[in-house]
């Protein structure tokens, strides 16, 4: 009798813990997701309004000022011609990596915990890349000439130089932006159809969902085409993701500058991107769970626990690559490289160098080893935020700080940012604003994927032990 009770409570505990073992009727889940989109408090609109005002001022007004006045209002100057604009470009591309990592890599490896939050992560990819694009355009200064980047000939039939890492950047970022947007849209179609079916006629939302759902009904053919396409995307987008940040790293590594000319920059940047991206995903999930109705059902401590483990592994990998890059330059670098390394640690921005190590390594390692701590949403939010601060510091050290020390000591000058601080705040506000708008327009939870996962999961008894069993439905 006591044994039976023990088993029942263990099963209950498993169901409570795992979303996949705690199914609800599909109609109920749809209702919850639609309600979460439509329930907005005055606080939401207050934050939305403040962010909109901040975007209008910090992003568009200040950018307008810079266009009128010229790049002189920014702090970029000899020898640091690359400043916060490029720090933010690298930072936002890094953030965008989490979406693909979670959605594609975890899909390929059939990691079931991914199901409820793939879309939340994919949205970050698209919105992060938009901010990266803005940052590049700001860096150009004369943004109205940005079409010169496009691969087409000028009047003299002279094409862009495709041997330049900057041309590779354009191709890689464009490929990634288009691919990740398509990869966001394809699995969204069935959920848009669900939203269409649940929205009353005669409203603008009905028209919106009807257009975007494209007439999807869920026929066998439609599902087959969609499943095939998602499989191709999941496998193909992974190397694209790796290529993007590797190519971004080559913008630096191809130059024979102290601190930049490193063969390990490619993987070091990719791991760094995953580090900041995962930190951002966990922040978004904690906010979504804490502020949107019914999200506590879909996003549970088990998801934070799983992401926390990934964050710990990625933090270790980042530490490994950082030390690898550091030790080789410290041991065998030329005079100027050694000067630069000393400047990183003991120069006026040394606090940033140590801050980077504390945020990226010390704090994640101190907290994420503990299962209870890494299952606590607010604590993970904090760790994710600090990782992002640390990763922003890392990019700041690599870009303007490293440019300070070169082979011409008479040009050494510490970079002092100007208007770009406002513009950076503007991109952050715009990212959050886009995310808030999306959370009211499209289902953040891929309901059909959650239901599919719940169908595949069951509890099975081995002897006296009840364990979770997963069937491969494909």
């Amino acid at each position: 009798m006591a044994d039976h009770k023990h088993h029942t409570s263990h099963e209950e505990h498993l169901r409570e813990q795992h979303l996949m073992l705690d199914p609800m009727p599909r109609g109920k889940m749809n209702e919850m997701v639609m309600e979460s989109m439509h329930t907005t408090s005055w606080k939401f609109w207050l934050v939305f309004g403040l962010l909109a005002a901040l975007v209008a001022y910090a992003l568009f007004y200040k950018w307008g000022v810079m266009i009128l006045e010229g790049l002189g209002v920014a702090g970029v100057n000899r020898p640091s011609y690359w400043g916060i604009f490029l720090v933010n470009t690298v930072f936002w591309i890094g953030i965008s990596h989490a979406g693909t990592f979670i959605s594609a890599i975890l899909r390929v490896f059939k990691a079931e915990f991914r199901r409820p939050f793939t879309r939340a992560a994919e949205l970050m990819t698209t919105f992060g890349l938009i901010q990266a694009g803005f940052s590049i355009f700001m860096h150009m200064g004369r943004v109205w000439l940005s079409y010169w980047l496009m691969p087409y000939p000028n009047q003299r039939q002279l094409w862009p130089n495709f041997h330049s890492p900057l041309s590779w950047d354009l191709l890689a970022i464009t490929t990634y932006l288009l691919s990740s947007t398509m990869y966001l849209f394809l699995p969204l179609i069935p959920d848009l159809a669900m939203a269409r079916d649940r929205t009353p006629d005669g409203t603008w939302q009905k028209v919106f969902y009807r257009i975007l759902a494209l007439g999807f009904r869920g026929t066998e053919g439609e599902w087959t085409h969609l499943r095939n396409a998602l499989n191709i995307f999941a496998f193909a987008i992974i190397p694209v993701m790796f290529s993007v940040h590797t190519i971004v790293s080559w913008d630096f590594a191809m130059a024979t500058r102290p601190g930049w000319n490193s063969t390990i920059f490619g993987p070091y940047f990719v791991v760094g991107a995953l580090h900041s991206g995962m930190g951002a995903v966990v922040m978004v999930l904690a906010v979504v769970r804490g502020t949107m109705k019914h999200m506590k059902y879909f996003i549970r401590p088990e998801h934070f626990e799983a992401i926390g483990k990934l964050m710990l592994i990625i933090s270790m990998a980042w530490g490994y690559f950082f030390f690898n890059d550091y030790i080789v330059q410290w041991y065998g670098g030329d005079k100027w490289t050694k000067e630069l390394l000393h400047w990183h640690e003991a120069g006026p921005m040394g606090w940033m160098w140590f801050g980077m190590l504390i945020c990226n390594v010390a704090i994640p390692w101190a907290i994420l080893w503990n299962k209870k701590w890494r299952s606590t949403p607010w604590l993970l939010f904090l760790v994710g935020m600090l990782i992002n601060v640390g990763m922003w510091f890392e990019r700041y050290i690599i870009v303007p700080i490293s440019l300070t020390i070169n082979r011409m000591p008479f040009t050494w000058r510490l970079y002092q940012p100007g208007i770009e601080v406002w513009l950076g705040i503007g991109t952050l506000a715009f990212f959050i604003l886009l995310y808030m708008a999306a959370s009211r327009l499209i289902p953040l939870i891929p309901v059909w994927e959650v239901q599919e996962g719940q169908m595949a999961h069951s509890l099975k008894k081995y002897g006296r032990e009840t364990v979770v069993a997963v069937s491969d439905l494909e």
Partner: protein, 174 residues
């Protein structure tokens, strides 16, 4: 020849839907005259249905080849359109071309995969269609095209097998 009737049978579960498909086949309704509509991807094997044909992988391959050719054009042909020889540097080097070829191949493949879903599924399609919104709430529907004299018999069999409803449907705007 009389026009075929469209019946939409709605089931709450997968098993009775699979049984119904088998029964319909025994009644002489060909697989081509049935279509299963569901809110989650139910595989053909689960329903005992023939495999669905899809052009998506072939289109993806075609897109990859097209993308590769565009990459080759950008890397090896465009430098010849306005020749600038730089001393000590190769004219059209292969290592940088690998990057351009890779990016354009992947872009071609993913774009054509995306467009392949549109082409194969005939998206966007805003014409009237046979559908009930309950499908996105988890129901499984079988759309059957049958000769009018058989409609009554088919309806009775499907109801006996657990169909929640079997209705003659008119195509409507979604």
């Amino acid at each position: 020849m009389a026009e075929e009737k469209s019946l939409l049978a709605v089931f709450s579960d997968l098993d009775p839907a699979a049984d119904a498909i088998e029964q319909l086949r025994m009644l002489g309704i060909h697989d081509d005259c049935m279509n299963v509509i569901s809110g989650i991807p139910v595989t053909e094997a689960m329903l005992g249905r023939p495999s669905q044909w899809t052009n998506v992988p072939r289109l993806a391959l075609g897109g990859a080849i097209a993308g590769f050719l565009v990459g080759a054009f950008l890397s090896f042909v465009t430098p010849n359109m306005y020749t600038i020889m730089v001393g000590g540097q190769p004219f059209a080097p292969v290592p940088p071309a690998v990057i351009v070829l890779f990016e354009m191949t992947m872009l071609g493949m993913l774009l054509s995969t995306f467009l392949g879903v549109f082409l194969d599924s005939l998206f966007p399609n805003y014409r009237p269609m046979h559908y009930v919104p309950e499908i996105s709430d988890g129901k499984i529907a079988i759309l059957i095209e049958c000769p009018p004299p058989d409609a009554q018999k088919v309806t009775e069999v499907l109801k006996k097998l657990g169909a929640e409803s079997v209705n003659e449907t008119e195509a409507q705007h979604l």
